[in-house]
């Protein structure tokens, strides 16, 4: 039995995992990171558009601060988010950008003086302040009141991941590459690490740890059409789920990005629209203002994606032999802007569509993009049901995105969560709860179970093809658990997925070797992905309302009275074919921002019985605190500062909010 001992085991070498690792390492703990691929190849590298943080350096960002970012994020979430976590996040995001600036991220910077930008299809001259010259610049993104998205041309994720990856190397954090966690080791109440498979040799090793952190990113590949990388298969969620103890939150909350290139699904960034790009239909008509007169192309993603599909349904899609799509027009931004600020977009258009986006329109259609749900944790990132298990980044649901995340809030979340959860994990390791007293029989047993699972795939003589099952799952999810959902479709999806799950227990392989065997990998991952897909589909079927990205045509209204609650999914018994769903209510009476209209999308929703009372209370509290500054008003409404690790408390300075 081979065992590796470490204080902190981080499963995932993307932005979230690496930043968690650096945090715990700096506090003196032994950290080991696992990754399927070299960490700098993680999907974080693909983030193009940018990272939200309320620095307020550019003219159009003036007046921005944590309060505005908070409000945008909560509205974006359609009130599904945990508002205390959102507060922790918006407070730490500026610190995260500044940390990354110190680590060498070449953030695009403000240039003082006049510049011409495109707003609402028209050239507009903006004048940048002299005091802002050389500070980190912000661009516009959907669903935000201010220009808040900090960026590095359109290679933001790449630049961030390389800076953080290099810092991990500088801190001597070992990354065990091409190693895949197959199962968590636990005794029903505490997590002790993971069983890990070497993807090159096939060897199984037990990694025993005081704290284990899942930072495995999204689950986009349960869908056929997705912007996600091929390794974003939701395995981290499945690891938690298969413990039978840990829960997944809000898995039905799946984001579809308006501008996946058609038909490949490769993303072109929201920065295209943020910088002034327009959506057009088959006739070249700019249709978004017809639906969303206020925010137009820059309403939140859930709203824009729905409007696009609605417009296609009305017969206005451009036809191609792969199906219908719409156009993204960035020609009006001019070649210089495109070649400077949207160069990845240009490369992608050239390589995959064979077009020059400075001259031609880009064929686009919404594609699966982001997994709001994930391993349910508290505000420290620790599982609420399995001690010693933490989660951070896209794989987690601590829950700052609720039912829709804003563009730019995800890479921001990864590093913020990394900073905070890294500290909380260090606290945990230094507390008695972090003592590691692990029975070796548990390790041995966990290894045996996984060995048996693999052997039965390799030798069991099953007859089902993993590839075929996976493809059927992806098709079902794209067809029936997409942007517009109905009870009938979702029922068909759930029963279809159940059948696939049963069949996946009888997968057989053509290639029986245990080393670098891609077929074996597809086989065991498909079994896990089907469970994750079932959590999404059954959560969506059960939720008879529409909220954020979850839209039910048969229940088109947001129903705060019935559904202001978070879905929790567990997988009780390995023999089950469905998750067990439970619900966790959100407490309106503690909300800083009681539910209301988002400012875009439908105005029609059912109020929670507490909403009016809380709104009045908030109003009264605001009036009472009106003498104080915005911080004291906020503190009167919903205190959160005590929740932050001491290292990251404190005000954020801005040009307009100088510190002594």
């Amino acid at each position: 039995m081979k065992v590796v001992y470490t204080d902190v085991l981080v499963i995932g070498g993307g932005l979230a995992g690496l930043r968690v690792a650096i945090g715990a390492r700096r506090r003196g703990h032994d950290v080991t990171v696992l990754s399927l691929v070299p960490p700098k190849r993680s999907h974080s590298a693909a983030a193009q558009g940018g990272m939200q943080a309320s620095l307020g350096n550019v003219a159009k960002g003036q007046g921005d601060n944590e309060d505005v970012h908070f409000e945008d994020t909560v509205k974006g979430s359609d009130w599904g988010a945990d508002q205390r976590v959102v507060r922790m996040f918006v407070d730490t995001a500026p610190k995260a950008v500044r940390e990354l600036a110190a680590w060498g991220v070449p953030w695009s910077r403000v240039r003082e003086g006049d510049r011409t930008v495109i707003i609402n299809g028209q050239p507009v001259t903006l004048t940048e302040r002299a005091e802002a010259h050389g500070l980190v610049a912000q661009r516009d993104f959907g669903g935000t009141k201010k220009w808040r998205t900090c960026y590095v041309s359109d290679g933001t994720g790449h630049a961030m991941l390389f800076a953080v990856g290099d810092q991990a190397i500088a801190h001597g954090v070992p990354v065990h590459e091409r190693k895949e966690a197959l199962a968590l080791i636990h005794d029903g109440s505490r997590c002790y690490g993971a069983v890990v498979r070497d993807l090159v040799t096939g060897e199984l090793v037990a990694y025993a740890a005081r704290a284990t952190c899942i930072a495995t990113g999204g689950a986009g590949r349960v869908y056929r059409v997705t912007t996600n990388a091929v390794i974003c298969e939701g395995i981290g969620s499945a690891l938690a789920l298969e413990t039978g103890v840990a829960t997944l939150g809000n898995m039905e909350a799946v984001q579809f990005h308006p501008t996946g290139i058609f038909p490949a699904g490769i993303l072109v960034t929201e920065g295209c629209r943020g910088d002034g790009g327009l959506l057009r239909d088959a006739n070249g008509h700019r249709f978004m203002p017809d639906y969303e007169p206020e925010k137009k192309e820059l309403a939140s993603r859930d709203v824009v994606s729905r409007r696009m599909e609605e417009h296609i349904r009305k017969g206005h899609g451009a036809k191609s032999r792969f199906g219908e799509h719409l156009w993204l027009d960035i020609t009006l931004l001019g070649r210089k802007h495109i070649e400077h600020n949207l160069r990845e977009v240009k490369e992608i258009c050239q390589s995959f569509l064979g077009i020059d986006p400075a001259e031609q329109w880009i064929a686009v259609r919404p594609a699966q993009h982001y997994t709001m749900g994930g391993v349910r944790t508290d505000h420290t990132g620790q599982s609420t049901t399995l001690r010693g298990l933490f989660a951070a980044g896209e794989a987690a649901c601590w829950d700052m995105h609720g039912f829709n995340r804003l563009g730019g809030n995800s890479v921001a979340e990864t590093v913020v969560a990394g900073m905070l959860v890294g500290e909380f994990i260090a606290d945990f390791c230094e507390s008695p709860a972090g003592d590691l007293d692990i029975p070796t029989v548990l390790l041995r047993e966990a290894l045996r179970v996984e060995r048996d699972r693999l052997d039965s795939l390799l030798q069991g003589g099953g007859t089902e093809s993993a590839d075929a099952l996976k493809a059927s799952m992806q098709q079902l999810m794209t067809d029936r658990v997409g942007i517009f959902r109905t009870g009938a479709d979702l029922e068909a999806a759930v029963s279809g997925l159940q059948e696939l799950l049963l069949r996946s227990r009888n997968i057989g392989l053509r290639h029986r070797k245990d080393g670098p065997n891609p077929e074996l990998v597809t086989a065991y991952r498909t079994q896990k992905m089907l469970k994750v897909a079932l959590c999404i589909a059954s959560g969506a079927l059960a939720r008879t309302e529409s909220r954020g990205a979850h839209f039910r045509e048969d229940y088109p209204r947001r129903d705060d009275a019935g559904w202001l609650r978070r879905t929790l999914a567990t997988w009780r018994d390995p023999a089950d074919t469905l998750p067990t769903l439970a619900y966790e209510p959100l407490d309106v009476m503690t909300m800083e921002l009681p539910p209301g209209w988002r400012g875009y999308g439908a105005r029609d929703y059912v109020d929670h019985p507490d909403t009016a009372r809380r709104a009045a209370e908030v109003q009264a509290l605001r009036e009472r605190a009106a003498q104080g500054d915005r911080h004291s008003v906020q503190a009167a409404l919903m205190p959160y500062e005590h929740l932050l690790p001491a290292a990251f408390r404190g005000r954020n300075e801005r040009i307009d909010e100088r510190q002594a």
């Binding site: 691929v37 190849r41 999907h43 060498g104 695009s108 490949a264 590839d467």
Partner: protein, 250 residues
């Protein structure tokens, strides 16, 4: 405006000649295997290899992650030239397509090589990070300003995705195992440009002022020609060489 998404499908039958070997399997010998596929519209090597694996040989090993030319996972030698497979369209290739793993890296199996280990080793040797991260940078304070043009110039060099194509195309790297390659030299150029890094030319000279570094380059510039990100490797290496030569003399 009238546009089509992709051009009409062709009916070519493509022949993929793939170099195969599993170095951990005592019975494996390096060999070329040929797979035939009908070409489809908009087909990339990512799509083609996926189809081969799904339909013809489930054991074929290769690496893809982002499939959008961003992550650098899928470098391989395509008809003799290192490049990213995911954004290589078959319509730009002849019907006979030869695929081989990138040389200079440890072979994992078939088209999969261990660039990760190589790159981490290079990063550790060259210390490819900003050195003066004073742990007391006050994160609550406004960030230090930087000239916008300088930020852009740093990003230009920061765009390297560590795909390994430059190393595979490098004459020196094939002869000298410890040569840091254009990827390493470009990183030094990147940090030397960045005022946030306090290292001086003498410090960089310690790292690359030798034959494993900038003086090992034979200026054949295979690296420059194959770089999928079109990094200005030629000018950067020439510049670094002059600077290091001066430092060495001085």
């Amino acid at each position: 405006m009238n546009q089509t998404t992709t051009e009409p499908g062709s009916t070519r039958t493509l022949r993929f000649h793939v170099l195969r070997h599993d170095p951990r399997d005592a019975a494996s010998v390096p060999r070329t295997e040929t797979f035939e596929l009908e070409e489809a519209a908009g087909m990339t090597l990512f799509i083609a290899l996926g189809e081969i694996r799904e339909r013809l040989d489930p054991s074929l090993a290769f690496d893809f992650v982002c499939r959008a030319g961003i992550c650098g996972s899928c470098g391989m030698v395509i008809n003799g030239r290192p490049g990213l497979a995911c954004r290589t369209l078959t319509r730009d290739l002849p019907t006979d397509i030869t695929l081989a793993p990138l040389p200079a890296f440890e072979l994992i199996a078939d088209l999969s090589v261990d660039t990760g280990k190589w790159m981490r080793g290079m990063s550790e040797r060259l210390e490819t990070w900003i050195h003066e991260v004073s742990p007391d940078v006050d994160l609550g304070r406004i960030e230090a300003p930087m000239d916008p043009d300088l930020a852009d110039r740093i990003y230009e060099l920061d765009r390297c995705i560590e795909c390994g194509c430059c190393v595979a195309a490098c004459g020196t790297a094939r002869m000298r195992k410890d040569f840091v390659g254009a990827v390493g030299l470009n990183k030094i150029a990147r940090f030397a440009l960045d005022p946030r890094d306090p290292r001086k030319d003498e410090d960089y000279y310690e790292l690359v002022g030798n034959d494993e570094g900038v003086f090992g380059c034979m200026t054949l510039l295979g690296c420059h020609d194959v770089c999928p990100k079109n990094l200005p490797l030629q000018t950067q290496i020439a510049f670094l060489r002059r600077r290091m030569a001066r430092t060495g003399v001085g």
